[in-house]
Structures are given as C-alpha cells and as structure tokens.
Symmetry: C2
Subunit: 703 residues, 2 copies
C-alpha cells in the first residue's frame, strides 16, 4: 500500500541514495561486482559511509552518509574559505573553525550540497567522481536525496493556510532545497504580488476605457518594465541575504564535457581538459539551420491548422460542421506537443554537441533554444490572427475555396462557396481567452492531477509482482521496512526540474505583455492561476518529485533575458495592435480595421520601442537612487573587512625600512638637507619669508 | 626673455607649487598673513615641507615637497593596501614595506598623485584639505606640478620620429602623467590604427563602387562596431596592466559638494556629509528645459543661417553676391562658438547645482550635457541638408522669396525671383568636406598655433612691467633665478583638460559613422589629422599647458557611451541616407531624390537598427571567445592569491573542535554508531551485503 506522504518516518540519517543496477541486458555479473566495490571504495575514500539494501531484481540501493564528523566540519570550512576567495562571501570565516560554525550553522541544504559534491565532483577536485551513467560508473542509475516528510508537511500546511509567502518562508525553503529552488519561488511570489496592479488596471480599463485604450497599453508595459527592474534588484538582495552572490561564476566543470586534449591552464598551470573555443562557436552556428527548420515547421503547421479552422468555422457549412469545428483543436493539441517534444530533444542534442565546459554555459545555451521553441508554439497562433488573419483575411480566405469546392461536393446547398465571407469579430479575443484561461487550467491538470493518477497506476502494477524477500542479512525492524518501502517509492519519482516551472511563468508573462491589450482581464486569470501554482508547485516537489539536490544559484539565470525580451517585444506589438484595431474599438478587432499601412506600423513600432528603452533607463535610474538593502548589507560587510585590514596596516610605521635601497623618485633624495633651494628649516622660517614678501610688496604699493 | 621649453633645468625637487594671492581687491593684509601661516601649518601637519618665493606684486609661490622619507613610504604602502582592499589590486602588497617597494617601485605619477592627495584631501581623510578658492583657503589661486623638461623633450623627440606609439611609450607616459592622460593617448592611438581600414574601404568604395553604396555603408558601420567592441576590451587590458581596474569605483568626495546635514553612514557608521538623492534627481529634472532651450536656440540659429545661405547662394543674385556668400560662414563661425560657450557655462552651472557628492558622478553628468551640445552644433547643419534641404528644398525655398523681394528692390533684373530654383547638386558633399577637412585644419590651428602666439604676446606685455626686485632673503643662485622664471611662466599656462581632447575625437568619430557614406574619403582626412593630433597634443601638454596632475582612471569614462550612441545612430542615418539618395547616385544627392515616403525611411531605420544591435552582440561574443590578455593576467594573479590562502586553510584539520557544540543537522549525530540501520562497520562488510544481494537475485533469476 502507499505510505502517507506526510507520515513522520525519519530518514535513518541517510544523505543520499545511489541506485545501482547489477542485472539487465548486457550487464555482466563480475563487472557489476567490480564496479560496486569500486564505487564503495571511492565513496569511502572521500569520507562517506555506505550501507546497502536491495531494491528489486535488477538494482540495489547504496545509502550514503558522512563518515567522520571532524572531516566534514573541515570540508564545510574549506568550502566557505573557497567562497570567500572567490568573492562570494565578503568576509573570511572565523579563523577558528568552531567559532565560525557556531556563527553560521550548517543548513541542511549546505550539508546536502557538500555531500553531493563529495560524491559527484571529479577525483582531482576532492570528489569521488561518481556521475550516473556518465564516465566509469555506467551502472549507477541515479543519485537522489530523501524527502524530509516532517518538514514537507509543515511547509504545505503553512503555505496552504496563508495568503502570502513571507521572506522567512523563502529563507526556510532555501535552507532545505537550496537557492535554485528558492529563487523560483521568490520570483513567483514577487510576480504574484506585482500582478495585483495590472489586475486593477485591466479590470478598470475593461470597464471604463474603450477597447485597445492607449492609456492601458502604456500602463501595462510600464508595469512590466517596473516589475523587471525591481526583480533585477530583488535578485541581488536575495543573493546577498543568502550569501550566494556571484556563485554562478564558480564555473563547475560539466561531467559530460568531452575534451579534445589535456592542456595546461595558462592561469593555474594545472592540467585541464581543453576544447577550442572557435570549434564551439562553429558548432553553435548550427543554431541557424535548426532555428529555421524548427520555426518553419512549427509556424507552418500552426498556419495550416489555422487555415483549416478558419475555413471550417467561417467558410464551410456543409454536414458534420458541428463535429468538424473541433478538428483543429484536436490537431493542435494532438500534434503540437509531439513536434515541440521532438525539437526540444534536437535542441538538447545540439547543446550537448556544442560541448560546453561549464554547467552555467550549457544551461544558458539550452535555455535560449527552449525559449525560442516555446515562443513559437505559444504565440504564433495569436500573431497569425492579429497580424495576418484580421488584416488580410478578406484577401486570403477566398483562396480557401479550393477546400470550399470539396465541401460543396459534400453538400447540395449552392451558397456554400458563394457564401460571402465575414471576418469573425471576436476570434482574436476568444483565442486570447483560450490561451490565458483554458490552457492554464488544462496545464494545471496535467501538472498536478495526471502525475498523481500515473503514480497510483504504476503502484498497482508494482503490487502484482511481489517484491523479492529481502536476504537474511537485511532482516530489519518494521520501521526499516517502512523506510525502504518509502525509498523505493521515491526512487521511482521523477527528478524535479525548476527550469520547466520557470519557463511556464516566463511564457505566461509573455501573454501579459504581448496580448493583454486585446483582453485586459488576462492578468486577473493569471493572478488566480499563480496563487494556486505557487502552492501546487510546493505539492509537486513534496509528493510528485524526488527531493531536488540543493544547488546554488544567484538569480533565475538566463530566463531574465527572456523576460526582458518579452517586455520589449510587448512594447512593439502592443503599439502595432493599437494602431491596427484602436479606431473601430467599439466592435472589437472584428470589423474591417483601417487599411494597414506599413508606414503606420513601422512608425508605431519605432516610437514605442524607443520610448520603451527610455522608460527602462529612467526606471532603472529611479531604482538605483534608493540603494538596495542587499547591496547595503554587502557594502557594510566588505567595509568591516577593509577596516580590520587597514587598522592592521596602519600599524606599519616605516622604521624598519632601509631607506636607501628604495627608489621613490628624486624628490625624496636628500630630504634633510637645507642647502640650495630649500633653505627654510621649519614652518616658522618659511612663514617668515612669506610675511616679508607680503609686507615688502604692499609697502612698495603704498608708495 | 622666454626660457627654452626644452632646456634641462631641474625642478629643485619641488613636487607642487601653490600660488597664494596676498594682495588685491577685498583682500586684507592680516587675513592673508593668517591664511598663509594656516596653510603652511596644514601642509606641515601632513608631512610636507614648504619653501616660499615671490611671484609678482599680488601673489607668491609656496613650493611643496615630501618632508620625511619614511612617512611617505608608509603613505605609499597604505594607499596600496587600500587599493587591494577595494579590489583594485588582486594581491595585497608584500607584508614587509621594503620588499613591496622594491617589487613595485613608486612611479613619478604615483608619487605626485599621493602628494596631491596629501594637499587636497579633506583633513579627516589624511589630507591638508587645501582646495583652490573653495573652502577656507580662499586665497589659494592654484596648485600645479612642474614640467619635467628632460622627459618632455625626449618624449616629443621619440614621438615625432616614430610612426606608431608603442605600448611601452604609453606605459612610460602613464608613469609620468597618470592613467587619465595615458588612456586618452591609448584611445587616440588605437583609433588611429583602426582608421586604416575605413581608409582603404572608403578609397576603394569611392573609386570602384557607386556613390551611396550599401556595401560600403555596411562595412563602415560594421567597422565602427568592431572598433568599439575591441576598445572596450582594450580598456580592460590597459586598466589591468596599469593596475587601476575598478579605481573609478573609489568614489572621491568632491570638494565643492554642499551637504544638507551631517549624517551617519549606514555602512561605515562614520559621520558623513549627506544630501538626499531624491533632491538631486529633482534638480536633474532641469536637464529637460535646458536641453529644449539649448537645442531650440542652436538648431534655430543654424537653420536661419542655413536658410540665408541657401537664399544667397541659390535664389539671390543681386549685387554684392560675391561678398554676401561669405556672410553665413561668418555668422556661423562668429556666433555659434559664443552660443555654445554660453550653454556650456549654463550646463556647468546646472551640474554644479545638481551637487554630486562624487567626482565621477559629476563628470559623467557634465560630459553628457557637453556631448548633447556639441552633437547639435556639429551635426545639425548636415542633418538639415540631408533630411530637410534635399528632400524638401523645392517646397521650402520659394518661401525664401520674401527675402527675394527685398533682393529684387536692390536690383533691376526682373528674373531674380522668377529665377527658377534648382537644388544644388553638390551642397551636401561640399558641406561634409568642409566639416571633415577645413574645420579640422582650422581647429588644429586654434589648438596649437593660437595659444603659442597668445603666450608670446602676453610675455611681451609682462616684460613692460619690470618684475619686482626679489627681497634679500631670496637672493639665490643663477640657476634658481632661471628656475623661478620658469615657474612663473608655467604658472601662467592653462590647465590641461583631457576631456576636451576626448570630446574632439568623439565628435570626429561621429562624422565618420553618420556621414562618411556621403563622402567616403572622410576617414582619409581623419587619419592624417589624427596622426598629427597625436603629436600636437603631446606638444600641447608639454609646452602650452601646465603639467597635468596625474589622476587615475580605468577607462575613457562616459565618452564610451557617446561613442556607442554615435555608432548606433550611424546605422540609422546611413540607411536613411542610402534610402534617400542611393538610386540617383550618379548625379549625387543633388538631383531630385525619389519622393521621401515615411514608410521607406522608417523601415530602413528599423531594419538597420536591429541589424546593428544583432551585429554588435555577435561581434561581442566573438571577442569574448578569445580571452583578453588583461583578464588572463588578472585571473592568474587572483588565482595565485587564492591558492596561497587555500593552502593555509587546508592545514586546518578539525581536531581542535569540540564536536558536540556544533549543529550540522541530524545526519552527523551518532556517526560512530553501528546500531539500527547502519550495521556495516566498513567497506568490506558493506560490499559483502551488496555481493550477497546480487548473487541471490541472479540465482533466483536462473531458476
């Protein structure tokens, strides 16, 4: 039976579980045994203690924990020193390890991170070099941490009972799941709060202002600008508060990085894996054909579906129309994900091929591609409607009569294709509503409900094949059985990927900046969705996913650029939309809009773009005027460090110096001397001379 | 008689000369004497030795030098520690002062900088707080260093005899005049070298390609992009090589800064002068009306002159025409400088009023205003011709007949104003040539020749009033008399302002990016001019100006933004110009260009702009692929520092720690224990269990 996710079984002090596969196609018993012993020794060598239990017929679990208290403390201290030396922490940790640990106790996230590094880092860099499937440990299936159910249940309780997630909550989260996850929730929370504004603006615009009101558009874009500028600074604050600022520069070498030759680093003089940058650049060139192919296919497909839809809903009215109208939606929601999935894998392959040496670089490169793909699939339909269908429908639709003829054959009604075409007034708005409400709801279901069902089903399947009787050595207590049961469950869960959640939010933000002018209520739908999302994601992490390895991050990473891009594009499209539809606002985008002159659109775009950048600059200046809390904190800490050193150095009086050997330029030579030009021995004498001159001159004058 | 600027009189070990005014309107004798003694005591208190000589009837010279060798050495050491703590130098100076000074001997620039700080820094910050005319030392006229004629003559010799200024030369320069000046020459040299490319491109374009060739335009803009991206990185390299990277963040408090109240710094806890940021922002708001007024006036004036010119040269042909044609030029070159000068002073006032606390901020704010003013005065005429005159002349010029009528009265020829108007084919090109060749030559004369003449004249005037007989106390050697003579000369020289030289180059770069499409030879004229300029500026510094105080800088500062702006604008205007004139290239911009459709221009601009930014991004990425020398050097140094520390910290084994007091999360508790879940005592045992499981399962399978 399934264990209640919120029951309070302890984790038996296990830090990580390594799933080791010993049987299966092409796995030799001896190889398995060798690798296992190698694995255990490797773990032992970096000060980790191991314990083994069985899982199923093909794999077993290696439980890992820290072996020696002292060793680990030193580990912590070293990592903090390292952070300091890389400028991540402004001040060095206390010289006495003990004091420093009392001052800053080790959070669970920090502990898990360090242990994870002990397991995964290359042997050279103080790790055991164990990376699932990559490298020498081909039989290592996965490495995962175990959920702290007690904390999880508390977490979910508090969040489900409070309206707003407090900063303390976030810090709390960061202490358990690391900065990377915490940053996502921080962003989501900030975004949620900020949404309140466009909600009010949108609602009042919808009620009071004409559709496509310039005023609302300006407010909306300005809001986006302010939000992003604010978040940029908020990020810094959080990074400083969490002591991770600049950690993204720490450059963790990717395990999957294939080097061309071993080379000596010009800086460190150490032997390092080398792969020529120019080659990488060349490989990155492949982005161009990829982008063309992907966007071509996706846009093409969407356009076709679009055409079919228009035809069926507005030209065709033969039999089965009532049924056929659903065809496009079916096609879209059926095939689109497949295409997207396909191209995503290609993108991944491409990024692998680019062979980045550093995790951050890899992720950035991949994220960019993902963004483009999602951008196309999410927004193309709306772009088509607003910039192709509405302006040009009258021109295009008739050509759909090729289809119209076939339609005619199916029916007797002669007027089918003489049937005069009319642009559907509310299509655009309808679409926006579909994408911003329906899609959100569906997606929500897919994210929360579906996996739950899936798990239940799998569980049932599992229960058919009775689990193997554990060998005598493993006969443990009831609690242990329960624990192992739980471990097996968690081993089957998916790995949580914060990127996908971030992507979701970014795309949502896009709808807001690009199209909310069409339907001002957009933000209302989003604020509801996100309030739920925030909680749903918490549940997802606790129940549906393995416990994420607490990695560090000092921002939401490359997604910030995507957000900025969307805000900018929003300024352009919004103005274009207004230019197109504003005048006949009363009967919506439907009625024939004024003839689209390129001049108009271009001017609109040029204007809004430049205004946008100006606005962004100004807002930025405004924010900078008030120094952020984080930067202030940082400056203070850095200052204190400086002060300490300066005071030390002030002590230095130059008595111990043999002055002759030092070259300070001529002016310092023969300082003591009174000969030649420098006659005055002291201030008094100098002043005397001065006074004489003054008197002399003045008397001369008076004569 | 005038002393030969290159004679090798030594500076009597004087570091700085302070000119002190004791007589004049509203100066009381006693006040003067008090201030003088105060001054001398202040200097003495910061370890500076003084000597006094007379200058003229109203002022005397206070000569300043370092008093104690030891004290100064400590000063140097402290300042270097400070640099390290602020991250300007990666590594701390050697603990033993002596060693550190042997390793990095004090350059003349460093010495003069430190002495200057000793004189000028506020009393709180280890200086004597002496700032000319500001604060308590109202009678201090100026503080200036003395030229090292020996070095100067060598400098000019080498530069006038070599084609290219070598990096060593620049470093040499930096050691004498400080980074600020050195950066200007470094920029000029880099720019000069880069100019070779557009020279070739331009010449071949002029000879082979049709006028307004798109190809040349792209090449030209691309060149600008590459140049700027290169320079950005070059700047960093130089800053690192000269050990000043990040020194612009050191934030020197302005002497003229007026504080509202004394406040405690949230960071340092020290009492600091406080002026609310919001107030400053409000005051900065004044930029708007100022910009409007200035641009309005300047543009208006230029437009009028322009109209007059067009009228005289192309409509009017009454009497005196031959003379009248010069009127516009006279007006322009007569009144424009006055207007510009006026607005520049206003801009200065405004910036003063903005009351920036930090030198850098003040300079940035002022530079921005200056740039706008110069932008208008330099480019408006050409913009008028290309975007108003040529496209709309046919429409506008007839209105000039109001003048035409008056003209008619002066003459009998009836056809004067029936005289049909024709657009002057070569006006645009002529103008560009005027601004890029004639103007450069004139300006060159103004910069080099005029001041020389001026000085000669003043010199003569001086010689009429025989200098006062020096009082007995001062009867010095011949050499001394000669020396004082020289000091008096130098005291009369102007203060060298690197900004104005930079501005000149920036505006020149503007002509290149904005208009060289009209006359591809532009860059040829510039390369010649700049080759001379580079040397002329050297002469200027050596002969026409006082020795600049060697200030530090880690870039050419705010001018970089101006350059980027010009490159960007260039991409827009060039495409617009091409759109306007390309087709009828054969008979130049003159013949009636195709009717200007806004759509076309807008499209051209949108396209080129976006292409421009894309190109800039790509070029940037390309450059980043190859790591810059400077950054490499810096990384190496930082690495070495880290290594040292890490090795120290590695020593820490955690034996001295009382493990019980430290909280490392539960998993660390009862590490030794073998009870409960953790039964295996060592790797062997663990492995044993694992092996059993594997065998067990596999046997089960085989059955």
């Amino acid at each position: 039976m399934e264990t209640d996710p919120f029951s309070e079984t302890p984790n038996e002090n296990v830090d990580y579980v390594i799933q080791f596969k010993f049987a299966g196609p092409g796995i030799d018993k001896n190889v398995a045994e060798d690798q296992l012993s190698k694995l255990l020794r490797a773990l032992d060598s970096v000060g980790l203690r191991t314990e083994i239990r069985d899982n199923d017929d093909t794999s077993l679990f290696v439980f890992v924990r820290v072996k020696s208290h002292r060793g680990f403390v030193a580990e912590v201290y070293r990592s903090r020193i390292k952070d300091w030396l890389h400028g991540i922490r402004p001040a060095a940790p206390e010289k006495e390890t003990q004091k420093s640990l009392e001052k800053e106790p080790v959070t669970e996230a920090e502990r898990l991170r360090l242990v994870y590094h002990l397991i995964t880092l290359p042997v050279g860099q103080g790790g055991a070099g164990i990376t699932p499937k990559i490298g020498e440990y081909t039989l290592v299936e996965q490495i995962f941490a175990l959920h702290d159910r007690k904390f999880n249940s508390q977490w979910l309780k508090t969040w489900s009972t409070t309206w707003k997630v407090s900063p303390e909550e976030l810090t709390n989260l960061r202490d358990r799941f690391g900065e990377r996850v915490a940053f996502y929730f921080a962003f989501l929370q900030t975004y949620l709060v900020f949404l309140a504004f466009p909600c009010i603006a949108g609602t009042s615009a919808a009620l009071l202002l004409p559709a496509y009101s310039k005023f609302f558009a300006v407010v909306n874009i300005l809001w986006a600008v302010v939000f992003l500028e604010y978040w940029k600074r908020k990020e810094v604050d959080l990074a400083v508060a969490w002591g991770v600022r600049g950690c993204s520069k720490l450059n963790n070498i990717r395990a999957a990085f294939k080097f061309e030759r071993i080379d000596t680093d010009p800086v460190t003089g150490e032997k390092v894996k080398y792969f020529p940058e120019w080659k990488r650049l060349l490989r990155q060139g492949l982005i161009v054909p990829f982008a063309l192919a992907a966007s071509g296919t996706l846009c093409g497909f969407i356009a076709c579906v679009f055409a079919i839809e228009v035809f069926i809903s507005e030209v065709y009215n033969g039999p089965f129309k009532s049924a056929l109208v659903f065809l496009p939606t079916v096609l879209l929601s059926g095939i689109n994900p497949i295409l997207l999935g396909f191209f995503t894998t290609v993108a991944k392959r491409l990024t692998d091929y680019e062979n980045h040496a550093i995790d951050e670089a890899y992720e950035a490169a991949f994220t960019r591609k993902i963004f483009v793909l999602n951008f196309i699939t999410s927004y193309t339909p709306l772009f088509l409607t607003s910039f192709v269908y509405v302006p040009f429908a009258k021109v295009i639709v008739p050509h759909l009569d090729i289809l119209g003829l076939t339609a005619q054959e199916l029916t007797d009604e002669k007027q089918t294709h003489t049937h005069s075409f009319e642009i559907n007034p509310n299509r655009l708005k309808k679409q926006v509503i579909y994408f911003t409400v329906t899609a959100q709801v569906v997606n929500f279901g897919l994210e929360i409900v579906l996996p739950y069902v899936k798990r239940r089903v799998f569980k049932k399947v599992e229960e058919f094949k009775d689990s193997a009787p554990s060998s005598p050595a493993l006969a443990g207590s009831e609690a242990e059985k329960k624990f192992l049961e739980r471990v097996r469950d968690e081993s089957k869960l998916e790995v949580y990927d914060v990127t996908s959640d971030l992507r979701e939010m970014v795309m949502q933000f896009g709808y807001l900046t690009l199209f909310s002018i069409i339907w001002p209520f957009t933000s209302v739908s989003f604020i509801v969705n996100n309030w739920l999302e925030l909680r749903a994601d918490a549940i997802k992490i606790c129940v549906e996913m393995q416990r994420p390895v607490p990695l560090r991050a000092d921002s939401i990473g490359p997604w910030l650029d995507s957000l900025q891009f969307l805000a900018w594009l929003g300024s352009a499209t919004t103005s274009a939309l207004i230019y197109l539809f504003a005048d006949d606002a009363n009967f919506g985008p439907g009625g024939s809009p004024k003839p689209l002159t390129i001049a108009g659109v271009m001017t609109a775009i040029v204007l809004s773009e430049h205004i946008f950048f100006a606005a962004r600059m100004l807002v930025g200046i405004g924010f900078d005027a008030v120094e952020s809390v984080g930067l202030l904190k940082e400056r203070r800490e850095r200052f204190l460090v400086r002060k300490r050193y300066l005071e030390e150095s002030m002590g230095i009086e130059a008595d111990e110096i043999d002055t002759d050997v030092i070259t300070l330029g001529d002016s310092i030579k023969d300082v003591g001397g009174r000969g030649g030009f420098w006659r005055a021995g002291n201030v008094a004498e100098t002043y005397g001379i001065g006074a004489d001159i003054i008197r002399g001159k003045l008397e001369k004058k008076e004569q």
